[in-house]
Amino acid sequence: MNITLRVWRQANAQATGKMVTYQVKDVSPDMSFLEMLDLLNEDLTLKGEEPVAFDHDCREGICGMCGVVINGTAHGRGDSPVATTTCQLHMRSFSDGATIDVEPWRAGPFPVIKDLAVDRSAFDRIIQAGGFISANTGAAPDAHAAPVGKLKADRAFDAATCIGCGACVAACPNSSGMLFTAAKITHLAMLPQGQPERYSRIKTMIATHDAEGFGGCTNIGECSAVCPKEIPLDTISQLNRDLIASLFKKDGK
């Protein structure tokens, strides 16, 4: 396959970026999208040009480090019924001779570092604001001390599969980080161990979410549509319910 790529090139956070066109030849349909970018970079290096910077690590769809906007869709799922991360997207999804646009996540709270790599440390700060259960090492009771009903355990798990890639923010017209935040809220709210901090956690996490510059949620649903782990939109309903409930709790300051 031969592919025409139009890639966002931006030297650093301060520089002005632009789309640059490259031809990539001899692409195998079995290659992953990132392997196709590797091929481009090998070629650029040998020509003495600067390779395209992009974040990636596990290349098996679980670490959450990769992620670019492909033809306008975060992670490039397009119309495919199969949810995917960028690293698990394969070139057989494209036709020979295709022109593909590749851009970084575009959101105020995710400033571009270089080319396709962005700074997502705002997500870590949302977790720091309460996305945990305070249980010091060594202080745990026996694992069977608190049974968890299977339905709640499964719902907690579904929310906990979030990989923190940031596609939800990139897809949202408001650059909202609500699906990411709601996934953690729901994960911990479903478990007995998460109850003591349930109504304080939500206030501090939402406050940090807003302070980091993420927008509000207006129920558009693009976030869930591009989520590689298919985090359901009803986690945001759960977040809203818990947030309202927290306003009536004395201890949820």
């Binding site: 290659m31 974040d55 670490c63 870590d124 090492t137 599969t161």
Partner: protein, 662 residues
């Protein structure tokens, strides 16, 4: 920078010299059941008000590093935690699928600490240290308690209690799991505990920082040199102790199931500064991975070995059938080779045996799938019998997510055509040598998780890597490092100390040297060539002649690298080529030591199969008289061969036996 190469030779003895024997001096005497309690009681303590005056550097944020950073932060130490990724949550522990073992005996099936200990030592083919393994089994139950308290959503039954499954040839059900994402959920648990300490101010987190050197002052590890991967700033950091939790080095083979960034630099730089490297040749090669599709492939994907419960593995009997559609090959023309050779265990033989036989079939020219280079490297894993027996829905209920993953990567539907699988590197049992306290041979330098060598011997059992990472991080290191820190305060050190200046200069010099070559070959092309050499000669089967050849090839590759590599850009930038180049430098040096280690160990054990040491039936044959020891290698400069220190393995609780699966 090193362009000098070691002397060559024709005999194994030409490639190393033998030094004094070493011993672990930290495990106390007495019955094995009491050693850990005794050690914890005897270890010196640090008063809580003194802990805040002490600092610890931890490199890595996976299960071993993240758990240790959170735990030491909670204890009140000042922790500086580093990772090369953009967030601590990305560490490659996240990719582990199957589960985590713990001797809880929740199934009432006669499991116990001793049984988990016994299974792990036997699984490691009697090349692990008894005392460390017993402790691992002992703290395993605490790990599950801790993770549940953090909100890790393990699989549960309808009654609300935790579910278990069996794993990897073990006869009890002791594996806890979270669907196929156990590593992810455990890591997120540790990550959340870590971020809680970041918020509390006890842990300072440095992401996108790569450790490139260790700083030794008065014989103690006192700091590290890092490169800020966004700005290129080379900087030194100091502490009272340094912990490396930097994972395995499977990427020496280029293609592996490791993340792209996994590397050996932290451990190797420590090795160059005096830390012994233990059993570098012990590599685990997992039999059920998706095969290589072509020369441009960047990494391999593992599929759970549970597939072997219902899938039948075969290749065509005749090489000329290998190009055919497998569905057109008659039953009589198929060779179900594992069932043929191992009638008792069939497709469920241990990982090392299943892997080696797949290689043998492909070496005979009977591999399937696309040709990569000049050979087909794949065997069929066929579910048509299982679909006939269980129905498509029955198979989907057991393996649906794995079938989907296979279809997404290969574009083939495994319900219709047999899967193709091939072995791939996915774990390294070797690593920096440590004692019972997890201290390396450099005082103040601790090594935890996959980065050390201690718990899995020559072969790791499934669901044991997560157990070791969290055991080290939550329970072992936080109880041993205080014994060392109680000796603080040590000499005050800052960036102006000669040792720090020298280390920073060494890092900058290497960066400058890499950028200055400006040759004609890319970093990846060298990395791939190294991978080919390692896979061919130090992979599933090793021979004396092959290993000697490989050492020569790697030395030549290193010379060529320093003469012809092309690293574009500058240091003061987000320069991913420069990052990779530095890692490949260390992987090449490590690869050479792996070959030397494999060459000297003229026996087969676990994942290390020497063609010269096999039974009449072609099975691995240990030589306990000559090789019942840990090979701890001392660095001796680039122009001198490494020095071998033997740590004899003492088995007091377990009787040595030869494995058999026929």
């Amino acid at each position: 920078m090193t362009t000098t190469v070691r002397p060559t030779g024709t005999r194994p003895e030409d490639f190393f010299s033998v030094g004094a024997e070493i011993r672990d001096t930290k495990a106390p005497a007495g019955p094995i059941e009491q050693k850990w309690s005794k050690r914890k009681f005897e270890a010196k303590l640090v008063n809580p008000s003194n802990r805040r005056k002490l600092s610890v550097i931890i490199v890595g944020t996976g299960l071993a590093g993240g758990a240790a950073a959170a735990s030491l932060g909670e204890a009140g130490y000042n922790v500086l935690n580093f990772c090369y990724q953009d967030s601590p949550r990305r560490a490659h522990s996240i990719a582990a699928q199957g589960g985590i073992n713990a001797a809880k005996n929740y199934r009432n099936d006669n499991d116990s600490t001793y049984r988990l200990f016994y299974d792990t030592v036997k699984g490691g083919d009697y090349r692990a240290r008894e005392t460390n393994v017993y402790r691992l089994a002992e703290v395993s139950a605490n790990i599950i308690d801790q993770c549940v308290a953090q909100g890790v959503p393990f699989a549960r039954e309808y009654g609300g209690l935790l579910d278990n499954r069996s794993f990897g040839g073990v006869q009890v059900q002791r594996t806890f799991y979270a669907r196929g994402q156990t590593g992810q959920q455990l890591l997120i648990g540790a990550y959340q505990a870590l971020e809680r300490q970041v918020a509390a101010g006890t842990v300072a987190m440095y992401t996108r920082h790569e450790m490139l050197e260790v700083i030794i002052v008065d014989g103690r590890a006192r700091g590290i040199v890092t490169r800020d991967m966004v700005t290129g700033k080379v900087e030194s950091f100091f502490a009272d102790a340094v912990v490396l939790a930097t994972g395995g080095y499977g990427n020496v083979f280029f293609l592996s199931t490791n993340a792209m960034g996994c590397n050996v630099t932290a451990g190797w730089r420590a090795h160059r500064k005096g830390a012994y490297f233990g059993n570098p040749c012990y590599t685990q090669i997992h039999p059920t991975c998706i095969p290589v599709h072509g020369e441009t492939q960047s990494k391999l994907t593992l599929m759970s070995e549970s597939l072997r419960n219902d899938g039948r593995i075969w290749v065509p009997k005749r090489a000329e059938d290998c190009e055919k559609d497998p569905r057109q090959i008659a039953e009589a023309d198929r060779d179900y080779y594992l069932e043929r050779i191992y009638p008792a265990f069939g497709n469920l033989v241990p990982r090392d045996i299943a892997s080696r036989q797949a290689k043998n079939m492909c070496d005979e020219g009977r591999g399937v799938g696309p040709k990569v280079g000049d050979a087909r490297r794949g065997v069929y894993l066929d579910f048509s019998d299982a679909i006939g027996r269980l129905g498509k829905d029955g198979v989907a209920a057991r393996y649906g997510n794995l079938f989907d993953m296979y279809a997404q990567i290969t574009g083939e539907d495994p319900y219709e055509t047999p899967m193709r699988i091939y072995p791939a590197v996915h774990y390294t049992m070797g690593g920096v040598w440590v004692d019972y306290d997890l201290s390396s041979s450099i005082p103040g330098l601790y090594v935890t998780g996959e980065a050390n060598f201690s718990d899995h011997g020559a072969n790791r059992l499934g669901a044991s890597a997560l157990m070791q990472g969290l055991a080290d991080g939550y329970f072992v290191l936080p109880n041993t490092i205080n014994d060392y820190l109680a000796g603080a305060p040590f000499t005050k050190v800052d960036a102006s100390h000669p040792a720090a200046v020298e280390a920073v200069k060494a890092v900058k010099d290497q960066i400058d040297a890499l950028l200055a070559v400006d040759g004609t070959r890319t970093v990846d092309s060298f990395h791939k060539e190294l991978g080919h050499i390692m896979w061919e000669y130090c992979g599933m089967e090793r021979t004396e002649a092959g290993l000697i050849k490989a050492i020569g090839l790697i030395q030549k590759l290193r010379e060529e690298f320093w003469a012809d590599v092309k690293v574009s850009g500058v240091n003061e930038d987000f320069n991913q080529t420069l990052e990779r180049a530095g890692r490949v430098v260390d992987l090449m040096e490590l690869g050479e030591l792996m070959c030397v280690d494999a060459l000297h160990r003229r026996e087969s054990c676990g994942g290390h199969f020497r063609a010269e040491s096999q039974t009449e039936d072609g099975e691995a044959l240990r030589d306990d008289d000559k090789f019942l020891y840990v090979a701890a290698w001392e660095y001796n400069g680039t122009a001198q061969p490494p020095i071998l220190h033997k740590e004899p393995l003492v088995y007091e609780s377990i009787e040595l036996k030869q494995r058999s699966y026929k």
